[in-house]
Symmetry: C2
Subunit: 283 residues, 2 copies
Amino acid sequence: MNVVLSRDGQVRAMETTVVSAEKHFGQLCSLLAAHTRKTARLRDAGDRLVKQLIALASSETPELRATLQDVAEDLAKVQDYRQAQVERLEAKVVEPLKLYGTQIKQTRAEIKKFKRVQSNEIKQLERLEKLRQKSPSDRQVISQAENRVQRASVDASRTTRQLEDTVDAFQRRKLKDLQRVFLDFVTIEMVFHAKAVEVYSSACRTLGSYDPERDLQDFQAKMWGVPGHFEARPLTDATLGPPASQSAQCTLGGQREEEAGGDDSAEETALEELQGQEQGRRH
Amino acid sequence: MNVVLSRDGQVRAMETTVVSAEKHFGQLCSLLAAHTRKTARLRDAGDRLVKQLIALASSETPELRATLQDVAEDLAKVQDYRQAQVERLEAKVVEPLKLYGTQIKQTRAEIKKFKRVQSNEIKQLERLEKLRQKSPSDRQVISQAENRVQRASVDASRTTRQLEDTVDAFQRRKLKDLQRVFLDFVTIEMVFHAKAVEVYSSACRTLGSYDPERDLQDFQAKMWGVPGHFEARPLTDATLGPPASQSAQCTLGGQREEEAGGDDSAEETALEELQGQEQGRRH
């Protein structure tokens, strides 16, 4: 009977392992699906921004038109990469986690099957006990009951080994799947962000080299019929430095060229602010 | 009268410029605000994922627990950077575009004022014409009317110059603001994505160096009380290569170390798929 009780404890521990995995993997799956959906919505917002940029460009002076069209193209590229990211997250992260649900159900079915075998063993043992009390001298009946106990016990111990194998394989697969799914998640995100950095750097250079002065002359020629109407006037409300200094904004960290060297480049400020805010929010 | 008509044409052109800017900037502002909101929702989804990862970690074996906790920490960092990105987008992109609406309203008010001055000039001209037809010999009355026309004309031409200045400054500011806002937008995005690449690389290395075998032994010891119960058995359903090859997944493009050198690393596949899908979607 001791062996039977110890088996019962093992089954409970196995059930706990599988039920806990079912719960956590289910939640993980829906949270990763939500992350994927929100990413898709960000892509949609980006697509709308691209359309508006193209509309804006068409109503602007030539230099700005060309600049905005280039930037719109870059933004569209980011959305294309985001679309690929969404598709890969679905295929490599959300789907495998969904399939994992099936694997868990199979393991639970195995545990159920074992419980039936185990309860048959207990039933046969109880039957033998009763017969021994009722008719202790009926050797033939007791011997038959002992045989049934014997067979049920052999069944139970074989099923136990099978179940041990199943639960071991389940745990092994769970650990490897968790590693695989998160490794894929992290890689898909990393590759997307790296592509985005590339594309935004290009957009940054395009915008940095835009010079509004030529467009202003074009505007003045169209509006007043006087080319260079404002040429000699100094700009008092200029909020920007000369275009040359703006290209410094487009080089990140260690890649910054010697010639840029502006201590107060927007990118550095951006980095400092990001770090400052990051510390402020949760630490 | 020709001068007056030409002025009328100019005012219409100026109105078109300002009204078109109002429309496009308004739409741009709400689309960039939507992009910022969707980014904030992605951050929220990320925060929930972090919590779930921490919950999952707490129910797992020691090695996996430590690994998942590290990954959760990295994911939380990405959300902190995303929070900083949201705050910066609001302050440097959405807010300036909102303020720009006020600037547009002021310019429209200037145009309205000019229209009043211009219609006064036309009224005085018509009055003079009537007087000349009604009492062509009344020199004094005609002279007074001529003086009023003269004053109205001086007013109109002074206001025209003011309006030209206003619209020129408006256009100049519009071009520079567009450049500034988009340069800020692109820089904020670029800096965020660069930070995300850094953090995900770290998470990728953490996950790549996780070895499930030690956890399996721990699990088996707890479950069956037999350490190393499965040690000798080869794994048939392994979906992963050895841990060493997984670290290749965490190096991007040109930075890949010589030693990794796997042609079919997941990261390369990811890049190829991203590029393939990007071409498939819109080109």
